[in-house]
């Protein structure tokens, strides 16, 4: 492992000016170096070809300008078979290695080693949810920001092959990690996979943090250099396509194990309502539902509980516990007036009972119509020996 690490570092040392222009970072995965080399090779092919083309494009119009016609106009051949054959075959010869190299890189990005750490990634509008081998899901405590545009953090172990098995809950997304030089579309009806081997642990900033929490630039905040890798959604998926990011943090293997064990605990915090807040952030609910009454893709949770909702089919219902459960599990069954086409994901099968209960408790606490006993219960710590609601 260390040898390849050394190779990579050596490559990084010799990172050329061109590479610095065209890439933000060294390639940080095991396959990235090969892609970069191919990129640089094609780049040089392009530069040389372009210069060769540019010389006559610039030179001829002056050399053979009509004003000099009297002196240099001559009849010239209108075709030359050998020449034409040559400039058809030579580019082909150049392209064959490019194709083979590209093919090789493609296979190396898709065929994962058998011992890869598998992480399931679920894309939904507009959130990525990783699920680790032990069932743990997105880490809440290390989200990059605390505002509307925060993105989830995905932990991966360093120097170990990581295979992502990806699916989507709604439309097509694409999981793009520029630092690893790879991406793969994420479909609602089939699994796709990609793998990479992160070559470097992410660096910690002051105070042992991966993210600079003092700088309050809330939008796509600039993390510490080297503290992780951006994930972008590269397949257009609607309103917040541009904000559908994630942040990959590469941990030492032992820390990774500890981390996913921590994450597997459903209730990192105390009360039902606090847990509900945690989980609804984790599940991406707050991407679309505001908690302060401001408009968003989905109806606000402020004062939702106890309110009367009207639907596109003309019916109306009072929002109660059962109502919330149905609409979280089967969101497309009835669409609220004014929210048609927003495509809330269907959570049936994707959310555990306790998580659902916690979210509903949390929604209750956001409403002033909630009866006091229910509020009290929401602000208690869960007692799993009793039915929740």
């Amino acid at each position: 492992m260390s040898t390849s690490m050394d190779t990579l570092l050596a490559l990084a040392e010799g990172r050329s000016l061109l590479h610095r222009i065209w890439f933000l970072s060294r390639g940080d995965s095991s396959q990235a170096a090969s892609t970069d080399n191919l990129f640089m090779f094609i780049l040089w092919v392009c530069i040389i070809s372009f210069v060769l083309l540019l010389i006559p494009i610039v030179y001829f119009p002056f050399k053979y300008h009509r004003s000099k016609q009297a002196t240099n106009y001559v009849q010239s051949p209108s075709h030359h078979t050998l020449l034409e054959l040559a400039w058809s075959v030579v580019p082909l010869m150049v392209m064959i290695p490019i194709f083979v190299w590209g093919f090789d890189g493609y296979v190396s990005k898709l065929a994962s080693p058998a011992d890869a750490e598998e992480i399931h990634i679920r894309g939904q509008m507009w959130n990525w949810t990783p699920r680790y081998r032990n069932g743990a899901e997105t880490d809440l405590s290390a989200r990059i920001t605390d505002t509307e545009t925060d993105v989830p953090v995905i932990y991966v172990p360093a120097e170990r092959p990581v295979k992502l098995i990806m699916s989507s809950s709604d439309v097509i997304h694409s999981f793009f990690v520029p630092d690893f030089r790879t991406k793969m579309d994420v479909f609602p009806n089939r699994f796709t996979s990609m793998w990479f081997k992160p070559m470097r642990e992410s660096t910690r900033g002051p105070g042992g943090k991966y993210i600079d929490e003092d700088e309050k630039s809330p939008n796509f905040r600039k993390p510490y250099p080297g503290s992780g890798h951006w994930v972008f959604c590269a397949e257009y998926c609607g309103t917040k396509h541009a904000e559908m990011g994630a942040w990959i943090v590469v941990l030492p293997r032992r820390e990774f194990e500890i981390k996913i064990h921590e994450l597997a605990t459903i209730f990192p915090e105390g009360t039902w309502a606090q847990a509900g807040k945690t989980i609804s952030t984790r599940k991406g609910c707050l991407q679309c539902h505001s908690i302060d009454g401001s408009p968003n893709s989905g109806p606000t949770w402020k004062n939702m509980y106890g309110a009367t909702h009207t639907y596109t089919d003309g019916s109306s219902e009072v929002v109660d516990f059962n109502h919330l459960r149905e609409h979280i599990l089967y969101s497309q069954r009835k669409i609220m007036t004014g929210y048609a086409g927003q495509n809330m994901p269907i959570f049936a099968g994707q959310i555990k009972d306790t998580e659902l209960d916690a979210i509903i408790f949390y929604i209750k606490t956001l409403s002033d119509k909630t009866p006091q006993p229910e509020l009290d219960k929401a602000n208690q710590e869960p007692d799993f020996s009793q039915p929740a609601q």
Partner: protein
């Protein structure tokens, strides 16, 4: 043979008073009568001119959308405490800054609007429907296209399709992206019909495209003037022929695709809907089976124009005529078997490898064309008027566009660059740097023929310079930020990319200024331009040698007989050039033929 063949070097038209002998632009009676005449005309020249103005108008609309997109991306959106800053479009439309998601929606709709207009309403019909319609019969010595009424129908179908598209825009615009990928396009704006109208508009525009293509193929096959064999045709005709073949064979597939998409939205039939067992990847195949060949419907006419601009600009026979002609057909043929490179990131491994290999093949005929054009300049007699400058700009930009295709054809690099700004820059270099640049050059080149007026050469050159500089400033930074990881169709971005976005936005202003100068030059030419000679460029193709500027209603006084090749500058002195403009060539006796 009772045909009166006019002498090809002295086909000087005499102006009669009969309509058939008058300029096609001459009004027929009063205003109403003239309007009616234009609305019901089956004259390919009038239809071409109407198309030209419609397309330029649509180009203006799409351009405004592009400027808006660039404006929005000047700064990233920053949301502080739930209040957004940096959303220029949202600010313009008076959207509450707390509702920043709506700002994204506006961006998405503008971006889609730009794509849809530029693809379906501008580039696909641009050259064929306007210059092609006007020039093909003139160049091959026909009185009209084979099916003139079908040609008129094509124009009205275009209008009808545009109206559906504009209806959708007026209803608030769609946010599907021009590619209409399912399931997003089948679920977005579920309550509204506007996506259906937009898709229906694109569907209808397909018919316009088919009608035009079908007409051209038959015209080129059946209506060539006596003496004009296949290899006596101007290369413009070859390019248009290749494009027409693709239009006829590929467009029906987008027809059925969009029809199924409409059914999907209206009836939820499920073919493309994963919820019902359908397959979004199948949609991508359907869509790209049309939309990739159509890329060559866009570029082949641009290449067609280039051959004329280069040959006449260098006053020299196009180097390797047959290679250029056959490469048009080769491009048309290969274009049908490379569509899968749009699906490289959808993990269809076997097809990805096949399509990657085939994709490289298409580079060969394109490269051959470029090499041949450059060789044509060798020992030519080159003028640097505006059309020639545009030809040089095309060579510059298209070379960059083509070469950057290598990054995208190679699978490993494509996985990194797919759906980033690198792609955006690549296809703008090819589509805009290729087709639009050639189109603008072609408009300048044939402007005297179409309207009988000259334009101001100096201002046109200023416009060219701004367009060229602005174009590179706009799109070259996009290569870099794309490779650095900036995905396309983003309303927002991380701050590493800001400098490139700002360069690009500034470039878009320069570009726009260049086009505005062109527009003013053309308006000035129409109003006060000096009268054009029949053959101001000293070209040898029939539209220059055998017709007046502008041509008469029936194109030719007498059916032309072709006696020399389209680029035989070595043997023929172009007729009707201005006195003093053309000097006798001095053949080099030492040169072997």
């Amino acid at each position: 043979m009772a045909t009166i063949s006019s002498n090809p070097v002295s086909g000087h038209p005499h102006h009669g008073h009969d309509h058939a002998h008058a300029s096609y632009l001459q009004p027929k009676g009063g205003f109403a009568a003239t309007v009616w005449d234009w609305m019901t005309t089956v004259d390919h020249k009038k239809i071409g001119v109407m198309y030209l103005f419609a397309i330029l108008f649509m180009f203006f609309l799409g351009g405004v959308a592009a400027l808006a997109v660039r404006m929005e991306l000047f700064t990233p959106t920053v949301v502080t405490g739930g209040v957004a800053t940096g959303q220029e479009l949202a600010k313009f439309w008076g959207v509450d800054a707390r509702d920043w998601a709506e700002g994204n929606n506006i961006y998405n709709r503008t971006m889609t609007l730009h794509g849809l207009i530029m693809v379906f309403l501008v580039i696909v019909p641009s050259v064929p429907a306007s210059l092609g319609n006007f020039l093909i019969p003139l160049m091959i010595g026909a009185k009209d296209v084979a099916f003139p009424r079908l040609n008129l129908a094509s124009w009205y179908v275009y209008l009808l399709g545009s109206m559906f598209a504009i209806t959708a825009v007026i209803m608030g615009g769609v946010d599907t992206g021009w590619t209409f990928y399912t399931p997003y396009s089948t679920t977005t704006d579920a309550e509204s019909m506007k996506v259906v109208w937009m898709v229906l508009g694109a569907f209808i525009l397909g018919f316009s495209s088919i009608f035009t293509g079908l007409n051209f193929i038959v015209t080129i096959h059946k209506l060539r003037a006596p003496g004009m064999g296949w290899f006596d045709m101007p290369l413009f005709i070859w390019g248009m022929y290749g494009a027409a073949v693709i239009q006829v064979l590929a467009t029906p597939v987008i027809g059925i695709t969009l029809l199924l998409l409409i059914f999907e939205r209206l009836f939820h039939i499920g073919i493309f809907d994963p919820r019902m067992g359908g397959d979004p990847v199948l949609f991508q195949h359907f869509f790209w089976f049309y939309s990739h060949p159509v890329v060559y419907v866009m570029i082949l006419p641009g290449m067609a124009i280039m051959s004329e601009l280069v040959a006449v600009g260098a006053r020299k026979k196009v180097f390797g005529y047959r290679a250029v002609a056959f490469s048009s057909l080769a491009i048309a043929g290969i274009s049908f078997i490379v569509w899968g490179h749009h699906l490289f990131t959808s993990q269809g491994e076997v097809s990805a490898v096949i399509f990657s290999a085939l994709t490289f093949l298409v580079a060969i005929p394109s490269a051959v064309k470029v090499f041949n054009w450059i060789s044509t300049y060798y020992r030519g007699s080159i003028t640097l008027n505006t059309p020639s400058l545009y030809a040089l700009a095309f060579l510059f930009l298209f070379s960059i566009g083509g070469l950057t295709g290598l990054f995208l054809g190679a699978l490993a690099t494509d996985l990194h660059l797919h759906d980033t700004y690198f792609i955006v820059a690549h296809f703008h270099y090819v589509m805009m740097g290729g087709t639009i640049i050639a189109f603008v050059g072609g408009i300048h080149f044939w402007w005297p023929k179409m309207f009988g007026k000259m334009y101001n050469e100096n201002w046109a050159k200023v416009g060219w310079l701004l367009v060229f500089v602005g174009f590179n400033l706009t799109f070259f930074p996009q290569f870099i930020m794309g490779s650095q990881g900036m995905p396309r169709r983003y309303a927002n971005y991380v701050e590493e990319f800001q400098i490139y976005h700002q360069l690009s936005t500034v470039g878009s202003w320069v570009l726009a200024l260049g086009f505005v100068i062109h527009l003013l030059t053309f308006i000035h030419s129409l109003v006060a331009g000096p009268k054009a000679d029949p053959n101001p460029h000293g070209a040898l193709t029939l539209e220059w040698t055998h017709t007046s500027s502008p041509p008469i209603e029936h194109n030719f006084e007498h059916e032309p007989v072709v006696t020399h090749g389209p680029y035989d500058f070595d043997d023929v002195i172009p007729p009707q050039t201005r006195p003093g403009e053309f000097q006798l060539p001095k053949p080099n006796p030492n040169l072997k033929h």
